[in-house]
């Protein structure tokens, strides 16, 4: 049918309810902006945590008496284990070298013999870089014959695991809350516009306009709120990222997909909340 008419009527409605329109667009903007910032923050935390996790490794120490070839057999066994990406073998000699590098003295010279056990450093697949998987793996390694000890940064891992989950829960919860707030606000504005225009609605009804036709200007309005909110939120997010980059932390990851996502989210909540409002309030009038 006549879409131009719906759009014109929709924009007229916005003009008539200027204050409600301004308030709604502002709130939708804030809500979308918060959601956008939360996404950016989580992307950055995710990235940071990922980097930290990459450095997580397990070191397994062999019995000091083990010769290199037996140790290497053990290394091969570990290589076959689930979740292991790479294993670097450190022989007695290499261990002594490492000791010298770290402490500036030659063990063999000091003690007359090399007491350092051979060991290996195990790098994990990304899927196994969490506290639970590492605990499982190190437990399995420890049970192998010839292994005396397995060490890794247990505390740090648990810390990351625990706090990251909490942070994600908070971010997700807050984002959801804001989404609901935005939907309620748009819903309410549409309700105001519906009541402001009950006369025209009544007349449309009387002259035989179809329901879908009566609804359409309001949907246009709801989607308009969403688009405006999305555009403004995107502008603020963009500006904020530039500011943070310049003055605070240059390593911010921007995730450009976010702009499309925010705009899409705006359109979506505009559409959904005006539908809800129409179903609730227009049907009362019609």
């Amino acid at each position: 049918m006549n879409l131009g008419f719906s759009i014109k009527e929709g924009l007229k409605g916005l003009k008539r309810a200027r204050m409600a329109t301004a308030i709604t667009i502002t709130s939708v903007t804030v809500a979308l902006m918060m959601i956008g910032l939360f996404i950016i923050v989580s992307v950055n935390i995710d990235h940071w945590v990922g980097e930290k996790r990459k450095n997580i490794e397990i070191e397994a120490f062999f019995e000091p008496v083990l010769n290199n070839s037996t140790a290497k057999k053990l290394v091969n066994k570990i290589r076959q284990m689930d979740g292991v990406e790479r294993v670097d073998y450190i022989s007695k000699e290499a261990a002594a070298l490492r000791f010298k590098k770290e402490f500036g003295r030659d063990v063999v010279e000091v003690l007359g013999t090399n007491p350092l056990p051979p060991s290996c450093v195990i790098h994990l697949k990304s899927t196994h870089r969490n506290a639970l998987a590492i605990a499982n793996l190190s437990h399995k390694i420890k049970k192998l014959d010839g292994i005396t000890d397995v060490v890794y940064a247990q505390g740090f891992l648990q810390l990351i695991d625990r706090y990251v989950t909490i942070i994600y829960l908070i971010i997700g919860g807050l984002g959801l809350l804001l989404l609901i707030v935005a939907i309620i606000l748009i819903h309410n504005s549409i309700r105001l516009i519906i009541y402001a225009r009950r006369e025209i609605i009544e007349i449309m009804e009387l002259v035989g306009a179809k329901k879908s036709f009566i609804r359409r200007p309001f949907l246009v309005e709801g989607i308009f709120y969403g688009i405006m909110g999305g555009i403004l939120a995107n502008a603020f997010i963009f500006a904020l990222i530039q500011i943070v980059r310049r003055w605070l932390y240059s390593g911010v990851i921007e995730a450009p997909e976010i702009y499309g996502l925010i705009l899409g989210l705006g359109v979506f909540i505009g559409f959904v909340s005006s539908q809800i409002s129409l179903n609730k309030h227009l049907n009362k009038l019609i």
Binding site: E205, V207, K211, F213
Partner: protein, 217 residues
């Protein structure tokens, strides 16, 4: 063409219409007469299916209150014209746009809209005020605009709910003359009123109701 079969309506505990039966034929002019609160407006609402009977059945043209589906109601209303005591014009649009609105809202092509609106505006003698807003018009002129809007879709009947209720005797007669003329061209008219003297000057069939019942035909 319009038939009421033993129609009863109550809202809440209150019985508003009781066992109403009557029939209105093609091109007829009839009054629904009765005191305030008798149920006149309710009968008209049943016809444009803004309300449905609890008991009995209302038939309007090809539609029956018992069978009509929600999405068919707009199509029924396009075959009716409705006017009211308070005109129900859009105050922010001029005369032309008020009438054109009824066509735009029902998906009539732009090229047809102008032709139709111009025709009905001159039919009710308001064409010279086409660019004025409703507030600039007298009550009689506003009602003429409302009549123009009601007939622009070529309805087979005009439902008029106290169309002269806000008008003085002289202006009321003007409106009656227009309704008479529309009726002579073949459109049926069903008019709710309690104006005895107007009925005497323009005599037609009278359906008299009181407290929700037909007391006299």
């Amino acid at each position: 063409m319009i038939e009421f079969y033993n129609v009863s309506v109550s809202i809440g505990q209150k019985e508003i219409l009781r066992d109403i039966s009557f029939r209105l034929f093609k091109g007829e002019f009839a009054y629904i007469m009765g005191p305030s609160g008798a149920g006149k407006s309710t009968i008209l609402r049943l016809i444009y299916m803004d309300l449905f009977p609890e008991q009995g059945m209302v038939i309007v043209g090809n539609y029956s209150s018992a069978k009509i589906r929600a999405h068919e109601i707009p199509y029924l209303r396009r075959e009716l014209g409705v006017i009211f005591q308070d005109f129900k014009l859009l105050r922010d649009r001029n005369v032309y746009e008020n009438v054109a609105f009824a066509l735009r809202a029902t998906g009539v092509k732009n090229s047809e809209i102008k032709r139709k609106v111009v025709r009905v505006l001159s039919e009710v003698n308001i064409a010279h005020r086409r660019n004025n807003l409703p507030d600039d018009l007298s009550g009689g002129e506003q009602q003429r605009v409302a009549i123009a809007r009601a007939i622009v879709n070529d309805p087979f009947i005009i439902l008029a709910d106290e169309p002269t209720g806000n008008l003085d005797m002289h202006t009321s007669k003007e409106i009656m003359e227009i309704l008479e003329r529309i009726n002579r061209q073949g459109t049926a008219i069903l008019m709710a009123t309690h104006d005895q003297s107007l009925i005497e000057q323009y005599p037609h069939r009278i359906i008299k109701i009181d407290q929700g019942e037909i007391v006299k035909e």
